[in-house]
């Protein structure tokens, strides 16, 4: 029987060990929270206050102007429109990329683990090797290739690039998940007359929901946070938020506006953060359901 909730030895009284345990947890929590705290606090300060140099102090008065500037007024080169356009570009890039790569990854994992066609192991090995190559070296030939199929500098192009570079990880996770699905399930469905796609959509995909959640979250953060691929492949009309963040952070007006930079940084990170805060439990459940296994 697997334990469904914490069930170590029953806690008895407050022992030294217990105190140490909580001390460890609180110190760890402090370590993990400090950077976020600093960012939020700094973004709410005025520049005058920031110059005092006490980065951990609470702001004297709450000043949201940095947030407004970051969202709609901060300058990049000669244009000063903040990062809001980038926000929608990021959405337009990330959502289809995640959906597509999760789908492809699920199909791959399913085919590789439960059908094992010829050369399946070779393909899997190739993908894993591909996953270990730094993608900087793909840039040059990829640019050429994308231009040849006239997908360079387009939304479709950047989405395709994300799907391609996501393939190794997504396939690995889904394959490892489907490997643990009993083969008999597939056999039973075949006796019932279902084919490759029918088994996938009606039986395997529903089983893999926890995995879909995990992979979606991993891919979402990965793609949302990408800078390099967006810069190179998206084209100027589709530049994601991270590229604009880079522009804002590296643009100064006589003095570095730390509050605006921090606000812009938080704004850029906020979507994945909210997703983790809201659906972290699903992520944990997905992992527990066997998303990552040896």
């Amino acid at each position: 029987m697997a334990r469904s909730h914490p069930n170590g030895p029953r806690p008895t009284q407050i022992t030294a060990g217990r105190i140490g345990l909580y001390a460890f947890l609180f110190i760890a929590a402090l370590f993990f929270l400090l950077p976020l705290y600093t960012m939020v606090v700094t973004s709410l300060k005025t520049m005058d206050e920031i110059r005092l140099g006490r980065i951990f102090a609470l702001p004297e008065t709450l000043d949201f102007s940095a947030w407004i500037t970051a969202w709609s007024g901060a300058c990049m080169g000669t244009t000063c429109v903040g990062i809001r356009t980038g926000f929608w570009n990021s959405v337009a890039i990330t959502v289809p990329s995640v959906a597509l790569s999760v789908f492809v990854g699920a199909v791959n994992g399913y085919a590789l683990s439960l059908w094992r066609p010829r050369w399946a192991n070779v393909l899997f090995g190739l993908l894993m090797a591909g996953g270990l190559i730094p993608y900087q070296i793909f840039l040059y030939p990829m640019v050429r290739a994308m231009a040849n199929v006239s997908l360079y500098n387009s939304l479709a192009g950047i989405i395709l690039v994300h799907v391609i570079f996501g393939l190794p990880l997504v396939t690995l996770l889904f394959r490892n998940y489907f490997v643990s699905v009993p083969e008999e399930l597939c056999k039973a469905a075949r006796v019932d007359g279902a084919g490759f796609w029918r088994i996938f959509f009606e039986i395997m995909l529903p089983i893999a929901v926890p995995m879909v959640v995990v992979v979606s979250m991993l891919q979402f953060t990965g793609i949302w946070n990408d800078f390099l691929l967006g810069l190179v492949f998206a084209g100027r009309d589709n530049l994601p938020m991270t590229v604009q963040l880079n522009n804002i952070v590296n643009t100064t007006m006589g003095e570095r506006n730390y509050n605006v930079n921090m606000a812009a940084t938080i704004l850029t990170a906020i979507v994945p953060l909210v997703i983790y805060f809201l659906s972290g439990r699903w992520f944990v459940r997905g992992i527990a359901a066997g998303a990552v296994k040896g």
Partner: protein
């Protein structure tokens, strides 16, 4: 190589075919630059405003950081979909692109605008390849400058600009004693290399400098000069603050603006930051050529015009070249950017004291080109590595370091 070029050109033509026909035939241009800092952006805006006034449509593709912008630009070239214009320095990097036949000449504009007469010959030669003009120079930057905060100098009791390195270090000691960071150091390789070069010029003189970089001369005198340069550079390590490593140049300038630091070694674009912050040259901050220097290292910015295969863009490129070389624009741009106008025939009265000093040196010919003009990008990188390694390695072994320096050219 030929096959590669063919492919590239096919890509260019292909991209041209795909470019949607413009509803209006207003000359439209996408300009890619890494001028995102305050002064830089303001200067770029001067060109933009005039360009739009003359009927052009301006699409801004600014990417902060030279590295990121260069990567994006090269990828666009590779994809056969380059932007209509790219901001970049005059030098061997540009020459590479021209050599590959990837840029449009702006010869007719140059002829009509009599650029040959307006520009110093050395500059005109640098923007011409095989007798054709390819680049539109925006302005020259002096790179031998020491900027100092008058407020900080006053606090430390420094009343006169130091004339020698000994005086200079004495001044730094005073600043240190006054609790001020003596040198606002931008600890990025390219900035450090600029400091190395300005000191080198002060030690070996104009001829010595050109001998080393152009002739790759490894004579006793050259080696001695490099050693002396490294000695001074090494001494400076003692006058920077803890946060210097990796610091951006504009952050370093901000330390002067707020009088947290005394001096900064930088190109004159730093003035742009002072201007944006409302500081005035000669009043709030001072500018001097590094001690003992007989002249000034310079670098020249320009606009590059890649071949896009689109007739509308070709037209826009010509208009843009015209705008950039307009005498009034050259001055306005330089004021914002902190540079020195390229044209000799501009109204000098508007320029600040620093720019006038720079222009004097330029007209007198007491200038040497920056390494970007003289060295290949590979060598520029190796030079950056060399200076950075010496600076942050903390070694004082000048002899073996000098050996390494000359290895760059092998």
């Amino acid at each position: 190589m030929k096959g590669m070029m063919k492919l590239l050109l096919t890509g260019v033509v292909f991209a041209g075919m795909l470019a949607p026909a413009l509803a209006e035939d207003k000359p439209t241009i996408e300009i890619m630059s890494s001028w995102t800092s305050g002064g830089e952006a303001a200067a770029l805006d001067i060109i933009k405003t005039e360009f739009e006034k003359r009927g052009g449509v301006w699409k801004d593709s600014s990417i902060a950081g030279f590295g990121a912008a260069d990567a994006a630009f090269q990828n666009r070239i590779v994809a056969g979909d380059p932007p209509g214009a790219k901001q970049g320095v005059i030098g061997l990097a540009a020459a590479d692109f021209v050599g590959q036949g990837l840029f449009n000449p702006v010869d007719d504009v140059a002829a009509a605008g009599k650029w040959a007469d307006a520009l110093p010959k050395s500059i005109y030669d640098l923007i011409s390849y095989d007798g054709k003009v390819y680049l539109a120079p925006t302005g020259a930057h002096g790179e031998s400058w020491v900027f100092y905060s008058k407020e900080a100098f006053a606090k430390a009791g420094i009343t006169e600009e130091p004339k020698t390195w000994d005086e200079f270090f004495a001044g730094l000691d005073k600043l240190k004693a006054a609790g001020i960071v003596p040198v606002a150091w931008g600890g990025q390789p390219w900035q450090q290399t600029k400091v190395f070069n300005m000191i080198l010029l002060s030690q070996v003189g104009i001829d010595g400098f050109l001998k080393i970089y152009v002739d790759k001369d490894k004579s006793e005198a050259s080696i001695e000069g490099v050693k002396k340069t490294l000695d001074i550079l090494g001494k400076l390590r003692g006058y920077v603050d803890d946060g210097a490593a990796g610091r951006n140049w504009n952050d370093a300038t901000a330390m002067l603006i707020t009088a947290k630091a005394g001096v900064q070694f930088m190109g004159d674009w730093a003035k742009g930051e002072f201007t944006v912050a409302g500081k005035e040259a000669g009043k709030d901050y001072g500018c001097m050529i590094v001690p003992e220097s007989p002249g000034m290292v310079y670098i020249a910015d320009s606009l590059w015009f890649p071949k896009t295969g689109n007739a509308g863009t070709d037209k826009a490129q010509k208009l843009l070249a015209e705008v950039v070389m307009d005498p009034a624009i050259q001055v306005e741009f330089s004021l914002k950017k902190g540079s020195v106008p390229m044209r000799a025939d501009v109204d000098k009265s508007k320029l600040d004291v620093c720019a006038q000093k720079g222009l004097e040196l330029m007209t007198a010919g007491n200038i040497v080109p920056d390494q970007a003009i003289l060295l290949t990008p590979q060598q520029v990188g190796l030079l950056d590595d060399f200076v950075d390694e010496y600076w942050s390695g903390g070694s004082n072994d000048m002899a073996s370091a000098a050996e390494n320096f000359f290895a760059i050219f092998e």
